[in-house]
């Protein structure tokens, strides 16, 4: 491949202001919605992450807008209900604050605010949710309200209670009246259902009873240290399970307060600077603190006496302040996630702290935000409300003749267009057509189209806005042009898929392209989710469409959602441009219906669509769509193979003649082109489907993910995209994630796995369990730290010696792998059978060697480029080398973080007082 290594994309990292897990703890027998992590950023985005047993997939982003920020996030869980023996899992609801007086509830499925509430108080600085009613409490007082109320602390000293009952959000009461004198409430937490602990800026922690609004106790921290400000700011408060209050403040000390007597029990100086965030584990046996000195400090109780705490270790996981933290335990995970201005959520092992590595998640979205128009060598990137387009050229160094050199500007790239979208909301998606003449940009509320025309003299593009049909006004979650540029596929915020036909594909630069007035709405298969699932937990959020792919001939469309379902649609019929644009366009109606109809639209719509063919062509559901199975995890890459053969000309086929009954005859001919779809899931399972057949391709049958190279299976990063190399008859897929680029040759089978695997089980099964055929996941963060690098001061194993005789070696530190071991998929036997007998396989292999097969690798990878924001095709590339691609990197050190309060090495002088 010809690689342009690009580091010029100025994608700005956005500070993480808030982190919240939908559950902090899920016990084994507890029925609960699958956990999600919400990440709130300074640019107003809320990202929803699925921990997924350590795979950490960023599922969706709820885009913010100009001057919006998310400063606090909180989840509530509606109580579960038992109906007819079935458990209706309570709804998970997400609320946010943003330094306004408003609390917002979000509709996760639609990616929009659901409702808002505000009151006559100052800006809300912090928010906390009431702990759910426990069973014992419920039994004690049956009549009690079950919901979780929200408490908000304001900058004017007010504490406000919001009720979330009856699927609503309302200001319930103002607990503490706002006044100018009162110190800001900077942190707030519930001690139990009725007691609220609020940390203020005036060196005080105040404790209130929400039933009466009365002050239970004021706990004062005294005056600040010498030479510093007098008032101590209590940046964070947390309550342990036994009611003990923990506070972190601007002196860099955590203080542990008795929960009943409200007296200071212990203070631990562990930070050089302010502590900004605290997190605890569920059973109250560990405290984590993060501060302005970038440290993350772990505390554990020592001694069995009065439960004294001590700092166990500290490390600098972040390159900037540790602003916020959230913990999660359950379903095999035990992690703390922390975030700050360095924008990367960092997953730190909780239970296995010190024995497992931390893991830094990328700070840019899962969707690559990089698009290209390979024919023009254009590369586009977008973020917030900006779109930048560059023209990528080959480096002049490689230019063969000198004349070329003179003519060309010295740079290999040039910014040719820069567009700032009007209006508040941030861009959700953008698309370029392959000619590079049309740009579609979508936000949550609208879709904009721009025509790009090269200016004759200068090397820049002229951007002109095009009018869009009113039917586009509902905005889009995803937007994409088909490869032939004739169709624009729009996935609306509510995951409804519509397709619009471009009338004049932007081939001629003069006439602006217009759209067929009629939108084609296509409906996904109704996957028959049960109602109680739909209404409880995360609701229909699972059905959110995240991936969209057109086949190379633009006649197959595949979409996938978070739950792992793939829907495919085909364009039937033959193009007949002679047909008139029917005036009975129901663009308006379709748009109106889209808002009302849910994603599992009924069959009538389908019928509707069938009759309303556009130019003789109709998008219909692939007849074998239902044959595609639900994947175990959400697909992150859908990619059709580019057809190796140039598309057949349609001239040879005879168009259908219109008849009386069918004035617009529709051919139901299915497309015949390349239909192989490569699907990669968030757990890096790789499948290839033959979409029209509705089955796995033979290659994929022979090569299930378990036979992929071990090195690949060990990687943790989620795959972000795929590039095909089909030049010279190759069948290579280049897939990439944040940290690596991997090439797989799909024309051949992987070498059969090592002989050990072929042995008949016995010990092996046990062994596999530990070492894992798949990814080595421990408790959700990075992998286990090898013994020889363990910095904990104690080894995992211990030797017992009784008087010179070594008794045994035993495990000192419990291995988390023993606890939750998911079943490994052990398909290879079947796959091996499919490959034919072993002898044959070996023979083929030997033969291959003779043929110089060995020279062509099965797979190849590099960790050279990181962090990779995206890889796109920018040209055809030189002959024999494969396609020309741009690898866009965005190193964190170039991203330019905001200034820090503390310098690099100041601590040294401070500590010793030199």
């Amino acid at each position: 491949m010809d690689i342009h290594r690009c580091r010029f994309v100025p994608f700005p990292p956005s500070t993480i202001n808030a982190l919240a897990f939908s559950h902090s703890h899920i016990s084994k027998d507890q029925k609960a919605a699958p956990p999600r992590l919400a990440v709130g950023r300074a640019n107003g985005d809320i990202e929803l992450w699925n921990p997924q047993g350590g795979a950490w997939l960023q599922e969706t982003i709820i885009r913010g807008g100009k001057d919006r920020s998310i400063d606090g996030l909180v989840w509530t869980q509606d109580p579960n209900e038992e109906v007819d023996g079935k458990t209706f899992i309570g709804k998970s609801r997400l609320f946010s604050i943003g330094y306004t007086t408003t609390v917002t509830e979000w509709d996760l499925a639609k990616g929009r605010p659901l409702r808002q509430a505000s009151g006559n108080h100052g800006e809300i600085w912090c928010i906390a949710a009431q702990p759910p009613l426990s069973k014992s409490e419920k039994a004690a007082t049956p009549g009690q309200l079950e919901g979780q109320r929200l408490i908000a602390g304001c900058t004017d000293g007010a504490l406000v209670l919001y009720s979330t009952e009856d699927e609503d959000l309302q200001l319930q009461r103002v607990l503490v009246r706002p006044s100018a004198k009162k110190a800001k409430v900077i942190s707030v937490v519930f001690q139990n259902r009725n007691i609220v602990v609020a940390g203020c800026t005036d060196s005080t922690i105040r404790i209130y009873d929400i039933r009466t609004g009365a002050v239970v106790r004021n706990m004062t921290l005294g005056s600040g240290p010498k030479g510093g400000p007098k008032e101590i700011i209590v940046w964070a408060v947390k309550v342990l399970r036994d009611g003990t209050i923990v506070s972190g403040d601007s002196t860099g000390e955590i203080k542990i307060w008795d929960g009943k007597l409200h007296t200071l029990r212990q203070r631990i100086k562990s930070h050089q600077q302010d502590i900004l965030s605290l997190a605890t584990n569920f059973d109250g046996s560990a405290i984590f603190s993060g501060g302005m000195d970038r440290r993350t400090v772990v505390y554990k109780p020592i001694g069995k006496g009065k439960s004294r705490w001590a700092e166990v270790a500290h490390r600098r996981f972040h390159t900037h302040d540790v602003k916020t933290m959230a913990s999660f335990e359950g379903s095999g995970l035990s992690v703390i996630v922390s975030g700050g201005p360095d924008a990367s959520p960092t997953v730190v092992p909780l239970g296995q702290y010190g024995f497992e590595n931390q893991r830094s998640l990328p700070f840019f979205p899962q969707d690559t935000l990089i698009r290209s128009a390979p024919k023009q060598g254009l590369m586009m990137s977008f973020w917030e409300r900006e779109v930048h387009i560059w023209h990528i050229r080959k480096d002049p160094d490689s230019a063969e003749d000198e004349e070329d050199l003179e003519n060309k500007p010295p740079q290999g790239r040039k910014l040719v267009a820069k567009i700032l979208i009007k209006g508040e909301p941030n861009i959700t998606s953008a698309a370029l057509n392959s000619e590079g003449s049309l740009l579609a940009v979508s936000t949550n509320s609208e879709i904009k189209l721009f025509q790009l025309r090269p200016k004759p003299e200068e090397d820049i593009l002229r951007v002109s806005k095009l009018p869009v049909p009113s039917s586009f006004s509902s905005g889009a979650r995803l937007i994409q042009f088909s490869p032939d540029g004739k169709w624009l596929c729009i996935v609306r915020p509510d995951s409804q898929i519509v397709l619009s036909r471009l009338l004049t594909p932007g081939t001629s630069s003069t006439s602006p392209p217009t759209f067929h007035p009629r939108l084609t709405k296509i409906a996904r298969l109704d996957r028959k989710t049960e109602k109680h699932v739909l209404l409880g937990g995360l609701g229909s959020y699972n059905r959110t469409v995240t991936q969209l792919a057109f086949s190379a001939d633009s006649r197959i469309l595949a979409v996938s959602d978070i739950s792992g379902h793939i829907d495919t649609f085909v364009l039937t019929g033959q193009e007949d441009l002679s047909q008139q644009i029917s005036p009975d366009s129901d663009a308006a109606s379709s748009s109106s219906s889209s808002s009302s109809s849910s994603s599992e639209s009924d069959s009538e719509d389908e019928e509707d669509a069938k009759t309303k063919a556009i130019f003789g062509q109709t998008w219909t559901r692939n007849p074998s769509a239902a044959l595609l199975p639900k994947l175990p995890s959400a697909p992150v890459v859908l990619s059709f193979r580019p057809s190796a053969i140039s598309p057949k000309l349609l001239n040879g086929t005879v168009p259908l003649h219109p008849t009386r009954n069918t004035p617009h005859p529709i051919s139901h001919a299915l497309p015949t082109g390349e239909d192989r779809l490569l699907v990669i899931t968030s757990t890096s399972q790789i499948y290839e489907f033959s979409v029209l057949k509705g089955s796995l391709t033979p290659w994929s049958r022979r090569n299930p993910t378990s036979v992929f190279p071990d090195e690949f299976k060990r990687t943790l990063e989620t795959v972000r995209g795929c590039i095909w190399d089909t030049s010279l008859g190759r069948e290579r897929a280049w897939i990439y994630s944040v940290g690596w680029i991997w090439m797989f040759d799909l024309s051949r089978d992987f070498p059969s796995p090592s002989g050990e695997r072929e042995l008949v089980n016995g010990d092996k099964s046990k062994k596999r369990k530990r070492n894992g055929g798949g990814k080595e996941r421990a408790s959700g963060a990075g992998g286990a730290i090898p013994d020889e690098l363990l910095g904990t001061g104690i080894s995992r194993r211990m030797q017992r010696v009784v008087h010179e005789e070594v008794l045994e070696e035993s495990t000192l530190i419990q291995d988390p792998m023993d606890v939750d071991e998911a079943e490994e998929d052990n398909v290879p036997e079947l796959a091996l059978v499919r490959r034919g007998s072993k002898d044959e396989g070996k023979g083929a292999k030997g033969k291959g060697r003779e043929n110089g097969y060995e020279a062509r690798p099965h797979e190849w990878h590099t960790f050279k480029y990181r962090p990779i924001m995206g890889v796109v095709l920018v040209g055809k590339g030189t002959e024999g080398l494969g396609p020309e691609v741009a690898v866009v990197e965005r190193p964190a050190w170039e991203a330019g973080l905001p200034g820090r309060w503390e310098g690099e090495q100041e601590w040294r002088e401070k500590e010793v007082g030199l």
Partner: protein, 1017 residues
């Protein structure tokens, strides 16, 4: 000039009568050899052992019969000569006495008639504290610190040496035998167990000094570490000595022994643990029921299975072993009673709470709480109970190896120290740290006193101090000779990879600049640094910016002051962990009246600081030379402040070459024995003489407060040795000067100077006029190491030793240095070969090194040196002493006939003529004398009440007690520091003290009037 010398020669001849020199000839064949196993001249019989031997065929038939021959005779021929004669004598002797002369057993040749020889080598004084925890006596009145082979007991109240005990080792113990560990018996507080590296263990009553001559041998393979615990079983309480040693078949083991003085023959032994890894530390607690040891990166925690054993042979321990990543350097445990037994197995409910702190070589501290219960609470199937967290607390402040870590008595603090020279106190409950920075050197050991009221800290500069716990103020300070020492074994932290510091290649030991104050011959002035031990294979360039004044008579440190800039109160390490280098004092000379001190210091920035210039194609060595700083400083003794005060500083006294402005090195500094004049010679081959002149301003003399005129030093003459026109032709030939020397004759009338690039010319100059009077050739070969006047003779040490009579202008004799010495590099020669003259005895001495090799490379391991004393008139050595260490300084003992030798064990020997009393002899006998006082020593407090001046003289009044007494009315009484008192009393044993009356007035003077303002070091 010549006449003057002749005049001088008169008395010389009177002194050294031919008769006497004859007696030398006949008797020096078998000089006295000390009883401590020093290898003497007899060693020469074994050729392979001899330092200066070479395998060429010189022997008795060599023409040794022409001693006046001006031709150089091979040095080893000399030796052979002597050998030949001695051999003859020996043979005669052998026929009479059945004496075998195997090389090392010098004691095997005690020929009593010969022992009464002219010269003797004294027992060493000084020495370096071994790197082991000092021991407090149980009443905290004394602190016990060990040197290589001696146990020194110091009083904590006045930091004076109370007693010194030297255990008597086996006869065949190798010279390198040293103390590895010592600890107080938990059963009897007056018993100290001492383990030696050869495996002998002593049980010494330190209050009486007994037990130094009996020992047990625990192992033939030696001993690595020892600890003692008092264990009771079968109705008997006994000291169980745990030692760790090498097994014969490789591997290591821990053994428990019971050694009772009642039946010294029988000592029941039991191996309790063996491992392939070296165990370098262990400790016990709770009467041996808890046992902790460190071995590499492993921690061993053991508990006694049953206290019911009748003999040590039946002791059984159960161990749990876990690992850390890095090697463990320091470890301490604290054992306390268990208060809560909730959730513990029954068997563990009675076990104590064992808290362990471990410091590793990368500077991390790990604190394990209640480790014993956690490790032993394992179920039978090896699984731990759920919810039990074994992960220790990690405290990481030290950037380099944690040399020592200790628990405070209450367990609330951890005290640690290391190369940062900062004592760190960790308050465990709050996580706060307290620092005591700016210690003078790396902290090697910290000990908390039994009552917890003070810390004893041992520093790498051979000093120890006691700090009060509350105020962290020093209450006692013990310092030995702070000259550099050679490491005895490779330190544990050497396995941490570090950025390379500049080192000497080939390896050498720097000489220690040293002078004896002629005004007070017991004062030895040494140029010392923050002593790091010298690595044997890669000795670093050491800086020595301090002047230490050491009292040879009393054997203790008097004062320490800085001669150059230092990093004591600065950051001492760069961010890259490089040690910031300090200047090095290369030469030091004192004026004849002891009032003026001249020092030369030089500093070169390390190469890493300008190697970025290489990309410009610059020559690094040139850059280095341009950045060198050389200062010549003149100091005046101030009786008022008891320090040397800087009077003049001359920047770059010599340049790199005739045309260069950059500072050049100074090769030699000489003091005029008769007047206030110094002379230097440097890289530019120019001899400069320096004299004083009175400072004047506008023609008026500038005077100090007391009316004395201020004086400045300036260059009187600058005499270029080479002919300038020749130099110009030769280009930068002057830069090739690598060695040079100057010397001034006794009467100050002649100045001899030579530099090695000058065609082998030696010039004699008139220092008053600065004119070259005469030049001679062929007086030296190769590198000039030193040059001294002895009467009319000029002794020149280069590749040959040449004695040149400048009056008759003839070479009295010349001897070639042995080839393996001659093959040393020029730098090695200059640093490791020494020449000294003693005017009183008309002798001169030279010390030559012999390097060892290690795996084919030259190394300082097993290096030795040899000291030879020649009489002016005789080409046969009067005495030859062999040292198994390297001599770093050689000085004439000013007050008596003989020499003072400083070696790489920081020990001082004196080589004396029989009959003259060595300066250091007093220091040695002190302990022996005080021995009798010990029972009364404990009564010091009582006797103090009487406040009797006479008593006080005998018992060394403790000033601390004095202050306590007078606490109430402090304002009325003057404060008398212990230092002042010790200055009066601690000048020698009682028989050497001044008259009683005088001392009384001195003491009275202190208490009655305002004491002099004195600096407390």
């Amino acid at each position: 000039m010549a006449s003057a010398l002749k005049r001088k020669r008169g008395p010389v001849e009177v002194l050294d009568t031919p008769k006497r020199s004859k007696s030398v000839k006949t008797q020096s064949g078998n000089p006295l050899l000390p009883a401590n196993g020093k290898v003497g001249w007899e060693a020469a019989f074994n050729p392979s052992q001899d330092l200066l031997i070479s395998t060429n065929g010189h022997n008795g038939n060599h023409s040794h019969g022409t001693p006046e021959s001006p031709e150089a005779v091979d040095y080893e021929a000399y030796v052979q000569d002597e050998k030949y004669k001695n051999a003859l004598k020996q043979r005669e002797k052998l026929s009479k006495n059945p004496v075998h002369n195997s090389s090392n057993k010098s004691t095997a040749n005690p020929t009593p008639d010969k022992a009464k020889d002219l010269w003797k080598l004294s027992e060493p004084i000084g020495g370096r504290m071994i790197n082991a925890d000092p021991v407090f006596s149980s009443d905290e009145k004394f602190i016990i610190v060990a040197n290589r082979t001696t146990i020194n007991i110091y009083s904590t109240s006045n930091s004076l040496l109370t007693r010194s005990i030297k255990p008597i080792l086996k006869d065949d113990a190798p010279r390198s035998t040293r103390i590895v560990a010592y600890c107080l018996s938990p059963t009897h507080s007056n018993i100290l167990w001492v383990a030696f590296s050869d495996g002998s263990v002593f049980r010494i009553d330190w209050t009486a000094g007994t037990g130094a001559n009996n020992h047990w041998t625990i192992s033939s393979t030696g001993c690595i570490y020892m600890t003692v615990s008092s264990m009771e079983s079968a109705g008997r309480r006994r000291d169980v000595v745990f030692t760790t040693e090498t097994k014969k078949d490789g591997g290591f083991r821990i053994t428990a022994q019971e050694m009772s003085p009642e039946n010294p023959r029988e000592s029941p032994t039991r191996t309790i643990y063996s491992t392939p890894n070296r165990i370098h530390f262990m400790t016990t607690a709770r009467e041996g029921s808890v046992f902790v040891a460190a071995s590499g990166n492993r921690v061993l925690l053991g508990r006694l299975r049953s206290t019911d054993f009748d003999s040590v042979e039946n002791i059984r321990y159960e161990f749990r072993i876990f690992e850390s990543i890095e090697a463990i350097k320091s470890l301490d445990i604290r054992v306390s009673d268990r208060k809560e037994t909730e959730g513990l197995k029954k068997s563990l409910q009675k076990s104590p709470v064992v808290d362990v702190v471990v410091g590793d070589i990368r500077g991390v501290l790990f604190v394990h709480n209640d480790l014993l219960a956690k490790l032993f609470s394992q179920h039978a199937d090896g699984k731990l109970p759920p919810g039990l967290s074994l992960v220790p607390r990690k405290l990481h402040w030290h950037r380099q190896v944690v040399h020592t870590v200790k628990w405070s008595l209450d367990g609330n603090y951890i005290i640690s120290g290391g190369a940062e020279t900062v004592l760190v106190l960790w308050q465990l409950d709050t996580g706060k740290q307290q620092f005591l920075p700016h210690m003078s050197a790396t902290i090697q050991n910290v000990v908390v006193s039994p009552s917890g009221t003070s810390y004893a800290i041992q520093l790498a500069d051979n000093s120890a101090m006691i700090l009060s716990t509350a105020e962290l103020e020093p209450t006692a300070n013990i310092a030995g000779i702070q000259a550099s020492v050679l490491e005895s074994e490779e330190p544990l932290e050497a396995q941490v990879q570090k950025i390379e510091e500049p080192s000497w290649q080939p390896p050498l030991v720097q000489h220690t600049p040293a002078v004896i104050n002629p005004a007070n011959p017991s004062k030895l002035l040494l140029g010392v640094g923050q002593t790091q031990e010298i690595s044997a294979t890669k000795p670093l360039l050491m800086s020595n910016p301090f002047l230490q004044t050491f009292d040879l008579g009393a054997g203790h440190n008097l004062s320490r002051q800085a001669l150059t800039r230092t990093n004591i109160t600065n950051v001492n390490a760069a961010p890259s962990l490089h040690r910031l280098s300090e200047p090095r004092v290369t030469h030091m000379k004192i004026s004849h009246n002891g009032k003026w001190l001249a020092t030369v210091d030089e500093w070169t920035p390390p190469a890493r600081e300008y190697d970025f210039l290489t990309h410009r194609g610059k020559d690094l060595s040139v850059e280095q030379q341009q950045r060198r700083e050389v200062f010549l400083k003149f100091w005046q003794w101030s009786t008022e402040s008891d320090t040397w005060e800087l009077v003049s500083r001359i920047d770059a006294p010599h340049s790199l070459g005739p045309d260069s402005g950059d500072a050049g090195r100074i090769f030699s500094l000489a003091a005029d024995p008769s007047s206030l004049r110094f002379s230097t010679i440097g890289e530019d081959a120019i001899v400069r003489t320096w004299t004083m002149k009175t400072r004047k301003r506008d023609g008026v003399v500038v005077r100090a407060k007391d009316g004395s005129a201020f004086r400045n030093w300036h260059c009187q003459h600058a005499i270029c040795l080479g002919k300038p026109e020749l130099l110009e032709k030769a280009g930068n030939g002057a830069n090739d000067t690598t060695s040079a020397s100057v010397a001034i004759s006794e009467d100050g009338s002649v100045l001899a100077a030579a530099c090695d690039n000058d065609d082998g010319l030696l010039h004699l100059l008139d220092p008053d006029s600065g004119v070259i009077r005469i030049s001679h050739t062929d007086l030296f070969e190769g590198t000039i190491v030193g040059m001294e006047f002895l009467g009319q003779d000029l002794i020149i040490l280069s590749n040959k030793l040449c004695v040149f009579d400048i009056v008759s202008e003839e070479i009295r004799f010349a001897v070639k240095v042995a080839p393996n010495t001659a093959s040393l590099s020029s730098k090695q020669k200059q640093e490791m070969m020494h020449l000294a003259v003693d005017q009183r005895s008309r002798t001169f001495a030279l010390a030559l090194p012999k390097l060892g090799t290690q795996s084919g490379k030259p190394s300082l391991w097993a290096a030795s040196s040899e000291l030879t004393v020649f009489h002016q008139d005789s080409r046969e050595p009067q005495v030859t002493e062999k040292f198994s260490t390297i001599i770093t300084a050689l000085l004439p003992a000013v007050s008596s006939e003989g020499y003072i030798v400083l070696d790489t064990e920081a020990e001082i020997y004196t080589v004396m003529k029989k009959g003259s009393q060595a300066v250091t002899s007093l220091a040695q006998s002190t302990s022996a004398l005080e021995l009798d006082n010990v029972p009364e020593e404990s009564a010091v407090e009582l006797s103090l009440e009487e406040e009797d001046a006479e008593e006080a003289e005998d018992y060394l009044l403790t000033p601390a007690a004095t202050q306590d007494e007078e606490d109430d009315d402090e304002s009325e009484y003057p404060v008398v520091t212990q230092q002042q008192l010790s200055e009066i009393f601690d000048i020698g044993p009682s028989f050497a003290l001044p008259p009683m009356e005088e001392m009384f007035y001195q003491v009275a003077g202190l208490f009655s009037s305002k004491p002099l303002a004195q600096s407390v070091s």
